[in-house]
Symmetry: C2
Subunit: 373 residues, 2 copies
């Protein structure tokens, strides 16, 4: 999922996303609650309508954000009291209030509000947070059921109802259906905690999907892969698993090998803005002088709008000149690259060749080419 924190995937238009084959995007309840406000978005018919994206949307609850506000937040069993990073105003997030925010936004998949801890936390801290997250999950579930029972699916304005001009070309009306609440499996880098958390969550309900949190926060890759294998073994095979905040192309491949179905990461757009481009032969930084006169596309096998039309030399010029088009072209390419990567993974899975495909892919990606391809 391309990350659209503030109701936009940075520099990309919904039409761009559709053209590069993106299916689903992520947005953030914490950020949108603060600005422009979830109630404003609700009044505009929900996030799909507000930002003009009619595909699936997943909202993160903001747990990671509020727990990251060092010194600006107070945690209790009830929830988290914090000060906005924008203007210092006081806010309180509880499982119930976050569910109301996510309902106002109207995303198709909504994440529970969980207690997030630093990456290298010791086991007792991880245990306490994981158990609280479970209690909070139950409260999220209760609140969402209460809201659904009293008001039905979240109100969304179909695009057709919006004031518009003849010839509006935006395709489908936003769907109007119950939201899917995903729990988040925590437990740090402690395999036993992770297994316990997964089982306890499953005991609470028949979840439509599962988030896997607390990874890619400073632990080693071997640790991350080990935990993924543990969690993979504990979750139902027929439900999507969402590895939150991950990642780079190699992390996606390693995740898919371990049962992960859904990812989100700011890397394609954020690193794109710093000149980084993903290619099948590894990551390159377009700012390097070696690309100054390079007439080739970023990736010789990529068919995105950037690679079909522009040279490395031109993109490098744009980035060196701080031109917005440069970061736009890189973002387009990088998001497309990951979307295509996952498409290829699905083909391999269906053909029963995932293992060989992923090994070959990783080998090529991690090998410095002998000539500058």
């Amino acid at each position: 999922m391309a990350v659209g924190t503030l109701a936009t995937v940075k520099s990309l238009d919904p039409v761009d996303l559709r053209e590069l084959g993106a299916q689903m995007i992520l947005s953030n309840a914490y950020h949108l609650h603060l600005r422009p406000g979830d109630e404003l978005i609700r009044d505009f018919g929900g996030l799909h309508s507000f930002m003009g994206w009619n595909g699936p949307i997943l909202t993160d609850s903001g747990g990671f954000q509020v727990f990251s506000l060092e010194g600006l937040r107070t945690v209790s069993e009830d929830g988290v009291e914090f000060r906005s990073h924008i203007d210092g105003s006081k806010h309180v997030f509880t499982p119930e209030s976050v569910m109301r925010i996510e309902r106002n936004l109207g995303a198709d998949v909504i994440m529970q509000f969980d207690h997030v801890i630093p990456g290298q936390s010791e086991e007792s801290v991880a245990r306490d947070a994981s158990e609280r997250s479970l209690r909070w999950l139950a409260r999220c579930m209760a609140e969402i059921e209460r809201l659904q029972a009293s008001g039905g699916p979240p109100p969304t304005t179909t695009i057709a109802d919006r004031p518009s001009l003849p010839g509006t070309t935006f395709p489908l009306p936003a769907p109007s259906h119950p939201q899917a609440l995903f729990p988040i499996v925590q437990g740090g880098i402690h395999p036993s905690l992770r297994a316990e958390a997964a089982r306890a969550i499953r005991d609470l309900g028949d979840w439509p999907g599962f988030g896997i949190g607390g990874l890619s926060v400073g632990e080693t890759k071997p640790d991350m892969y080990r935990i993924l294998e543990v969690v993979d073994g504990e979750l139902p095979r027929d439900r999507p698993r969402y590895l939150m905040g991950v990642g780079f192309p190699e992390d996606l491949v390693e995740g898919v090998r371990r049962g992960v179905d859904l990812f989100d990461c700011v890397a394609p757009t954020r690193m794109g803005r710093n000149g980084a481009a993903f290619t099948r032969d590894g990551r390159l930084n377009i700012k390097r002088t070696e690309f100054r006169t390079d007439p080739r596309p970023l990736d010789s096998e990529c068919d995105c709008a950037t690679c079909r039309r522009f040279t490395r030399a031109y993109i490098r010029h744009l980035v060196a000149a701080d031109e917005i088009l440069g970061l736009r072209l890189l973002s387009l390419h990088n998001v497309h690259f990951l979307v295509q990567l996952m498409r290829d993974a699905r083909v391999a899975i269906r053909a029963g060749t995932l293992d060989a495909w992923s090994r070959d892919w990783l080998t090529r990606y991690h090998t410095r080419p002998t000539s500058n391809v």
Copy 2:
């Protein structure tokens, strides 16, 4: 012409430009000479090929830029010695060297290298600069003829020759034809100087078109309009007149009323990045709180990609959050607005109703609407 100083119209893709109906763009020889270098661009087949734009391009010679480098430049009859604003390196621009730069870039229309003076210069200063510009025009003409005679049209690589993938969708190969050199009529706000300059220029040759420089640099609007009327009377009726660096919508309309055919201005993109949007009822600033919950498009009669799909509230949110998509959507709208404005002007000219049309347009544009339309 949308301004693409550094081989890109800020935040806009060539495909965006084509879709909003832009026909011609402007780029700048000074900036491109410094970065990435006109010889690099030549090696890439010229500017059309390098930036992926196959429509007409006009390059400004950079006269305005080098003469603006206060304290960093030395003027003589030979040319201008200056230091790059990027890295302080020394460069020399002469009429001959600028023609070589513009040939390397390969634009369809190229502006002479002229002696630019501050807007409120007194008549003697304006006269000296105007007369030098005429001598430099003769040198430009001689150099371009020499280059054409020895090498033919500037070398351009057709898009078909570029290394590309199957399914490259970019349309036509870049044309390969002699470049059209436009002189620039100077003379400050002194009607007699302007008339003399126009006549002297016409005596030098049968020019394909004429630039009108040194306006919109601090003089009053009435002065600008008066000078335009003088120049209009002195130039051949069947040649395009290009009012350089102008302007805002109202300036375009007033210019067309006085015989101008071609304009360029950074306003649509630069002001767009600051939240300004052109509408038929005047300019608005989307950052204002009154637009926070406004469900209407920027302009109710506009059919651009922004107005067909997004609300003022959403665009305001994007701009308040410093999101790139916000400035992109505003730039798209503003450029489209001006392109459409000129289309409407051409319809009025053909119908013989330019006077009434322009008066009505200006009245509506300058009148604050009674209700927030």
